[in-house]
Subunit: 119 residues, 2 copies
DNA sequence: TCGTTGTATTAGTCTATTTAATACGTTTCT
DNA sequence: AGAAACGTATTAAATAGACTAATACAACGA
């Protein structure tokens, strides 16, 4: 269900965290859906259950899932298809702007490109 | 001359590496220009000379600078203001805009984010 | 010659991440 | 009631990357 890259700089628990958000964005999982148990995630990916649990813990801290002992972890409404998509899009766009800014791109040039695309 | 963020996930040597590319992209430094000695960079930023040297070493491996003992390190033509680097950035930005557009993002929202970053 | 500079080496410290090995309490199912 | 499933917690250890420390050497230029 989840995909991780062991060679990536991004920690595994953070990749899992983002995987949940992405799956929600693409509609593969929806509010109310049950996520696989941490032990299953760990077994599937060949990682430690603690690592999977850490991802779930942070997702719950952000209100994206709710967990209860003995029952499992479930998506909240906060991760509906639309809101998750929006989050992904704006984050990606913001990163692109910051990157361009860091490399000395002029605001006017970016505005020009933006207008060009939206025409 | 260089700016680093000690709290960032990105290693210092890599930040320095990117700083050089960014300064070249924005025209602050040009091909042939001498870079500050590793010891000066280290002293200015309060880091170890080895860390600064590592950044220079990788820049030289990529052909962005050339170094010679006793003389210093200098920008090559590969890091000119109007070459690949800048186009890469604007292309990345254009892709982000098109992506956001494809997902139905409002132009006004993107403009808001852009202004927010450039403030 | 002397100061500057890039380069190299070896060792050590530090931090975040991940694993390991259990254990506990709650819920669900039979 | 009992067993399995599940989230949660704890403590310890291992691992890897980044960074520092302390030197040393050789080339270059004034």
């Amino acid at each position: 269900m989840f995909q991780i890259d062991f060679a990536a700089r991004e920690p595994i628990y953070e990749q899992l965290y983002n995987d949940v958000i992405k799956l929600a964005a693409s509609g593969v999982i929806k509010p109310g859906d049950k996520l696989p148990p941490v032990r299953v995630v760990a077994a599937d990916l060949g990682i430690n259950p603690n690592t999977a649990a850490k991802a779930y813990r942070e997702l719950e801290n952000e209100g994206y899932i709710y967990s209860s002992v003995g029952r499992g972890s479930f998506l909240t409404d906060k991760l509906s298809e639309n809101s998750a998509q929006k989050r992904l899009i704006t984050d990606a766009f913001r990163n692109a702007v910051m990157e361009a800014n860091a490399f000395g791109a002029e605001k006017e040039e970016l505005l020009r490109i933006l207008e060009e695309v939206y025409r």
